[in-house]
């Protein structure tokens, strides 16, 4: 069983729970990996700090809590998962400081007829003004999976820019038609769509997630 977190410098083995604290003004970009287990991760961001997380998992449930405690703290979170079993992603984001910014993107592939749940709960507190709070959630069901997304927004302040989206389904036929009309086979089209859906970002360090890349190829 793999339980590792990769960051820019090294590979860190962790237990089922982990806390990250970013001090004032600190900037960090990390890679997280989890497989076949349940994890709890907490992030605490002080004033002016910013965090980019590339988070990949296979058959894992996560309970993630992010507290944007200081003013102008920012998190960009890219979560991608491949599931063959019943799994849950529970996300809680607390905008405690003013002008804090959260950008949460969750992509999942539900391979078999199992349950995959994204439960995303950003909370903007009453005294946190000028916050930006975005979330985008997509699950591709490859078979008759029972996927569910709860893209909640719990906002207690009028001065907030916020968006949320949720999509459950398959890759659009129109996309496949377009790709195939340029000569790509159906298989090659799916592979390309799947790779970009799950990797999300073009310039990520793919060499840090060999196990995930290997699993994408099997889909």
């Amino acid at each position: 069983m793999n339980k590792i977190i990769l960051d820019k410098e090294e590979v860190i083995k962790i237990e089922s729970a982990k806390e990250f604290v970013l001090t004032e003004g600190e900037k960090k970009e990390i890679y997280i990996w989890g497989e076949n287990d349940k994890y709890k991760i907490r992030y605490h961001l002080e004033k002016g700090s910013s965090l980019i997380v590339h988070h990949y998992s296979i058959n894992a449930s996560f309970d993630i809590e992010i507290e944007l405690a200081g003013d102008n703290a920012r998190v960009d979170y890219f979560y991608s998962t491949i599931n063959y079993q019943d799994q849950v992603l529970k996300f809680s984001i607390f905008h405690t400081g003013s002008k804090t910014h959260s950008n949460i993107i969750n992509h999942g592939v539900n391979v078999k007829d199992r349950k995959l749940l994204f439960d995303v709960n950003p909370k903007v507190k009453k005294n946190a003004v000028g916050c930006v709070c975005n979330q985008e959630n997509s699950i591709i069901n490859l078979e008759d999976g029972e996927s569910m997304i709860c893209p909640n927004l719990l906002i207690d302040n009028y001065d907030v820019i916020s968006s949320h989206s949720a999509y459950i389904g398959s890759f659009s036929k129109e996309m496949l038609f377009y790709m195939m009309s340029r000569g790509l086979t159906e298989k090659a089209s799916y592979e390309l769509l799947m790779r970009y859906f799950l990797l999300q970002e073009e310039n990520i360090a793919v060499e840090r997630i060999p196990r995930f890349l290997e699993e994408i190829k099997k889909l």
Partner: protein, 247 residues
């Protein structure tokens, strides 16, 4: 090159017939334009030739270079040399323009594409079309302006080098300068590839001033009602479809 023989086309899971006993013959090097009022089946024709999943050919056949392609897959048609420049090219987030085109070239040619040659060809094509280099690294058609989307279709055409080019309202959404650039690129492609044929669907004769058609067909009720040359298109622009008794 292309023989469409008496095809009847329905929307899948619907009894509605869009194309009704439609026939058309396009020889090597010919340019055909199809015009007609809205809802007469022009785009359905373009998509049917390409094998779109929404349409079913219930009678007749489509022959391309002596092969019956009526029931073969979309990608097989593309690899045989058919290209559909779309009216509203699909946006695909995440897949970059360059990655998509490189994969397409690899699939069409069956060979690994040398990165240096690929970039050089892309740069030449983009330069010809006056497209920004940043488009290489942007998601496919995502956030492109109407003009950029159409130019990107022509960029793909230039790289994939098809034998039959179907252009479905390639002129819609293009400003005067962009239309000129797009047409110049199509014309130079046709000069370099004199055997290539074009089937152009349009509402406006303006594009036909740049890409001269050998034939102009008027479609109504799912079939060709009248065939002529550029003068027919000009007459329609001046007097409307009523003047030629197709409405």
């Amino acid at each position: 090159m292309l023989e469409i023989k008496n095809i009847c086309v329905k929307i899948i899971d619907d009894d509605k017939e869009i194309l009704n006993d439609f026939s058309l013959s396009i020889k090597k090097g010919e340019v055909h334009a199809i015009m007609g009022p809205n809802g007469t089946g022009k785009s359905t024709l373009a998509k049917t030739i390409m094998g779109h999943y929404k349409y079913q050919v219930v009678a007749g056949s489509i022959i391309f270079e002596e092969d019956d392609i009526t029931n073969i897959s979309v990608d097989e048609r593309a690899r045989l040399g058919i290209f559909l420049g779309m009216q509203d090219p699909t946006e695909i987030e995440g897949i970059t323009n360059s990655e998509f085109l490189r994969t397409a070239l690899k699939e069409v040619s069956g060979e690994n594409i040398n990165l240096y040659h690929f970039i050089k060809r892309m740069e030449e094509g983009m330069n010809d079309l006056k497209l920004s280099e940043s488009m290489l690294h942007r998601s496919l058609n995502k956030g492109f302006s109407g003009g950029e989307k159409k130019k990107n279709e022509i960029l793909q055409l230039k790289l994939l080098r098809p034998k039959l080019i179907i252009l479905d309202e390639i002129d819609s959404g293009l400003d005067v300068d962009s239309l000129k650039i797009v047409c110049q690129n199509i014309n130079s492609y046709l000069e370099e590839n004199p055997d290539a044929s074009v089937l152009m669907i349009t509402h406006y004769p303006r594009i036909l001033e740049y890409i001269k058609p050998d034939y102009v067909h008027i479609m109504q009720d799912g079939k060709i009602q009248k065939t002529g040359d550029l003068l027919l298109a000009k007459k329609i622009e001046k007097d409307g479809y009523h003047s030629i008794n197709v409405m």
